[in-house]
């Protein structure tokens, strides 16, 4: 069959997306904090749980979380994954360790990158701290924290974070 008579089974149609994101009040506070090198969360006035990043309301109590709290960049790895599969949409090349980090004084773990440590030496319970970009590069983005790195403290006990898994 000549080339021109072969059936067309597929064509490439690349997709490109640009979108505007409305952060909302709670995230705006958090992002402004990031630009100043601060981690700001919010405490629920009813259950006392601290949301970092804040969401503006408590999912459990269904009330606004209007009490602002600042937490430090120290925290605990509650669990993690070693990413060994590459993808165009990832920020960095594998292998690397992506962890759930529970900051001291916060009640909601978030995903973050662990560096300055071999990727296969990350442990549940490992104590870590935020490493910020240089002051002049700080901006209203979570990327003001470059990554987390281990600190010289004994591992947190499983009991201390098992409620956050």
């Amino acid at each position: 069959m000549s080339e021109s008579l072969k059936p067309v089974t597929a064509i490439k149609a690349p997709v490109h997306l640009e979108f505007s994101y409305t952060a909302g009040r709670a995230s705006t506070r958090f992002l402004r904090g990031m630009a100043q090198g601060k981690i700001l969360g919010q405490r629920c006035p009813e259950c006392g749980k601290v949301y970092v990043p804040p969401r503006g309301s408590c999912t459990i109590c269904a009330v606004p979380t209007d009490v602002e709290v600042e937490v430090t960049g120290k925290g605990t790895v509650t669990t993690f994954c070693i990413v060994r599969i590459p993808s165009d949409s990832l920020s960095i090349d594998p292998p690397f360790t992506c962890a759930h980090i529970l900051l001291d004084g916060a009640d909601l773990p978030f995903f973050a990158l662990i560096q300055e440590c071999p990727f296969d030496e990350v442990r549940m319970g490992m104590r870590v701290e935020a490493v910020w970009v240089p002051k002049e590069e700080l901006g209203p983005t979570f990327e003001s924290i470059k990554y987390f790195r281990p600190i010289d403290e004994p591992d947190a006990s499983f009991e201390s974070y098992k409620e956050h898994l």
Partner: protein, 385 residues
Amino acid sequence: MGEHCAIVGVGQTKHDTLRVDVSMPGLIREAVTKAFDDAGVSWGDIDAVVLGKAPDMFEGTMMPELFLADALGAVGKPMLRVHTAGSVGGSTAIVAASLIQAGIHKRVLTVAYEKQSESNAMWALTVRIPFQQAIVAGAGGYFAPLIRAYMARTNAPDDTGIRVALKDRLNALKNPTSHLTFPDVSYEMVRDSPMLWDPIRYLETCPSSDGACAMVLAAEDAAKTSPNPPAWVHATAMRSEPTMFPGRDQVNPQAGRDCAAALYKTAGIKNPRKELDCAEIYVPFSWFEPMWMENLGFAPAGEGWKMTQEGATALDGDLPVNASGGVLSSNPIGASGMIRFAESALQVRGLAGEHQVPGAKKALGHAYGGGSQFFAMWVVGSEQP
């Protein structure tokens, strides 16, 4: 529940990496034609169509229901699209069943599909959230930490996931629709396959598939004139919860436990492990079998892995799980949940072929989606409730 609802026709495509032999409409028609043959009906017998598929970004085609309306035979009829992420195939079937149970329609066609080869689901799932690094590598990157948490919580033997994968991959060899088949699969082959999202290995992971699943659901009168035995819907349930909140149990989510409890209550089931003959559950990564065994109340908390290790979930065990080969063997995401529901129906109809669980009379179909936050389940039986 008002009217009784029965599954009278089931059809699935051959699931594969790349179905370039058919377009999206062609893929759907392949499943629907088989379901119609099984049900002994044709387009004119259908009152309404309920379609489900996963997020549009997975295929890069927005709102495919617009151009699928004629392929689905929906012209001049009510048509709905359902969306609950990975659980969509299950919730789509439940929405379709509710149209029968409510007495609105006599026969409803429900279809779910995904043509994953047309885009890149890992790309679509590696969400570039504004102001954040993109480091959560697709579904594997999201679920691997939860599996690690399960392992730490339960002290389950490290090879539990390997055993689940081996079982499902052996079952897949008995299912002609299976996408991934490894005729010489062995414990060592699974164990030695590469880690993708440590602790998840390549052979413990679901594939990306092209495929579709269709079911014809019918009210009592219509079911009784069907050529093949029907499966009766005994109960359905859906629950959801947010992705993140303090103290959320992501390993054993409350929504899943509540959904199962509501389902069993409606179905009059007190001891699910004893009263159900088999289960088709949504296991995209091997370790989710023991995790869901606990969430679904088949095993006490912390002991789901024992069912895998003891062989209880094998085809010859006391509760065969994923006799079809499961999501690990075929994963057209939007259809994966409906395939679980359809396979549970095939089992109680006695039409599952080589992977039939002998004498199965009551079965569970289960799907979950999002960050383990949407749950859809049904119990089907050979006897009319």
